[in-house]
Symmetry: C2
Subunit: 402 residues, 2 copies
């Protein structure tokens, strides 16, 4: 079956590993089956390039950073194509630009505007295997851009969506678990999960697959498979697919994810005219800051308080931006660091009452204080003190049978 | 004055050196003066990338090698642009493609077909400093190509030609000398040299500047300057310009260059029908092999012998290609290695009789046997045994006052 396969940087960090991946691809490619390979930069290349640039300045201009970083993936795909050709596979390396990724010019966090897969499709028709550099594209005025965190996954999913193929994401972990096994070693493997659950898990801290990739897969109904590089036994990986393909089992919580570097902003005494809050979220949008756990409460006549969470580094970026903003600089802003956000996710949750009350009573029994709470159709998130995180995760996993 | 400045890889091999070059550019840029910077890959990057690819296969597919190697220059220009911006220069890095270099698809030795400097010129108009990746371009079907040896110089000269600017090539040597000072330490500095002399010197072994760059400079009358990176005293460099700008002094020989890895091919009993020789040189053209010292002699009725020289590695490439060629495989081909070619160059030579006889009598006095001889308007070349090379160069330099 035609498929887009994506290999992560740790699976390609040496020439030996690149050759092993090439051999695995060659061994498993069936005659008449078409594949597209997407690759990340070898091992720590991206970090090394960033550190070179930071030797010059802490504040690296983002357009140039993108031009620098894009070389990492370009090197990997050239080397992987060489290794594949050596094994008789007619592979052709392609940069983001060559594979038709047109993006916004928001450097280091560009968004895909359109994909012209004409050249990729032509190569496939000629029986060739395109080996596409993940993570990168080109803006409409011809500048090299990168897609930000998880960008290579996004590249793979976008191509799969365009071609109407499945997409396999290979990394150095076996599969998804109900929660991070480093925190709860008894965590169970998840063999199937819905897009929605995966999105919640990702956006709530599970570092395996970024939300945007899952979002795109859901939108175009791309069947995703997560597995360990070089592992042939698919039963050891995780399929991510639409609800329709899954039996929703009698299990309210599918998994628990968490995020350590969590900052909570509390903004009090905001004028309840709609405009101030809009300005604030405009600013967040301009800075491309992803916030979670947004809540707003009316605290008086024409006055409200707004709170939300984000990562510590984005929180710092936001703090400095607020200071130079004419509208927002006057507000009373409290920032609380040292928190972890724990999220319980499950499509069954909506049909099961009592999940929230069970969560709160477990935390109370364990004497773990909790702060902000937010919920969605399929998730409940709470913040706790970072040092209580492990205790809370273990207690919740045990209680929900994960 | 507006100028294209090109910096070689050894001048940019560390972040410190990149910063030093950036500072030198910033310190010397006068208000209202426009510059374009062209850069090579940092230090040994190209060699390191080649050795990565060779870990996979000795016979690296050339399209992929180009995609791999082009990342070297892309990294340098991004880092140099970052360093320049840090010093307040509004620099913008550009790949070969972005700067409009359209080439043939002869990978690893592509030739420039056209240059669309639109974007470069637009940046200059906006007061910016384009920092262009040397050595690379893109073929018409969108593949990344590299321009072969001396490709970054060619990039710089081509941009200068297009803009009608001068071109400065900065490396880790001061200037040209009458001959290689490592062989003849008393060799004098050359402050001015004509394009023609430089072309002869380059094609005959002086490794400072490739013939194609000088050829292009001559064609578009681009004034070239060769100098040491970070050196401000221009009197220590060498200007390369047209004959018209130079006083041809009363000096028949301007310089002596030489080439160590010299192979001579002797092909005897070639049918003198024109076709066999044409086939041979077609093959040389297909392999992109540069030959020197071509000579043909009629050796009998309808029979001739052909000889020419090339480098040892190209000679080996040629030997294997001849074996698989249906027309040429039957010929009696002798190959002689272990030779050096010594060339005396000077625009004054054509107007001075007796240079050749003086050369031969010096070699005879010194008891240095010599083999093939070829001459052009402004040069005389002889091959000698490699171990006699130094003795011959010193004797000739002393005799011609170099």
């Amino acid at each position: 079956m035609n498929v887009v396969q994506k290999y992560g940087g740790t699976s390609l960090e040496t020439i030996e590993k690149i050759q092993a991946v090439a051999k695995h691809i060659a061994d498993n490619k069936k005659p008449g089956e078409d594949i597209v390979i997407v690759a990340s930069a070898m091992g720590k290349t991206t970090d090394q390039l960033i550190s070179l640039a930071k030797q010059i300045t802490e504040d690296v201009p983002k357009r140039e950073l993108d031009a620098l970083l894009a070389t990492g993936e370009q090197q990997t795909v050239a080397l992987l194509a060489i290794a594949l050709q050596e094994l008789g596979i007619d592979a052709v390396s392609m940069t983001g630009f060559q594979s038709g990724f047109v993006t916004t010019d928001f450097h280091t966090k560009a968004r895909i505007k359109e994909i012209n897969t004409e050249r990729v499709e032509q190569l496939i028709e000629e029986g060739k295997v395109p080996v596409v550099a993940g993570f990168q594209g080109m803006s409409e005025n011809g500048d090299i851009t990168t897609l930000g965190r998880g960008g290579s996954d996004l590249t793979a999913v976008a191509i799969a969506a365009h071609l109407g193929w499945d997409c396999e994401i290979y990394t150095d972990v076996d599969s998804l678990h109900t929660t991070d096994p480093r925190v709860y070693p008894e965590a169970k493997q998840l063999h199937r999960i819905t897009y929605e659950e995966m999105m919640e898990m990702s956006s709530l801290g599970a570092e395996i697959l970024e939300t945007r990739s899952v979002e795109l897969a859901k939108k175009y109904n791309v069947k995703l498979f997560l597995g360990r590089t070089l592992e042939n036994d698919k039963s050891r990986g995780t399929y991510i697919m639409s609800n329709n393909n899954l039996l929703v089992e009698d299990m309210p919580v599918t998994g628990i994810s968490f995020q350590d570097d969590c900052t909570i902003f509390n903004i009090k005494g905001v004028k309840n005219d709609g405009k101030t809050v809009a300005d604030l979220f405009n600013l967040l949008g301009e800075l491309n800051i992803n916030v979670d756990m947004i809540s707003q409460q009316i605290t008086g006549k024409n006055e409200c308080s707004v709170s939300f969470s984000c990562t510590i580094s984005q929180g710092n970026e936001l703090s400095s931006a607020i200071q130079t903003n004419s509208v927002l600089s006057g507000l009373a802003i409290e920032k609380q660091d040292g928190l972890a956000m724990i999220s319980l996710v499950g499509v069954g949750m909506a049909t099961h009452s009592g999940v929230a009350s069970k969560v709160f009573s477990i935390l109370a029994t364990e004497q773990i204080p909790y702060y902000q709470i937010t919920t969605s159709e399929i998730s409940i998130s709470v913040t706790v003190d970072l040092e209580k995180k492990v205790k809370a995760v273990i207690a919740l996993c045990e209680a929900f049978g994960l």
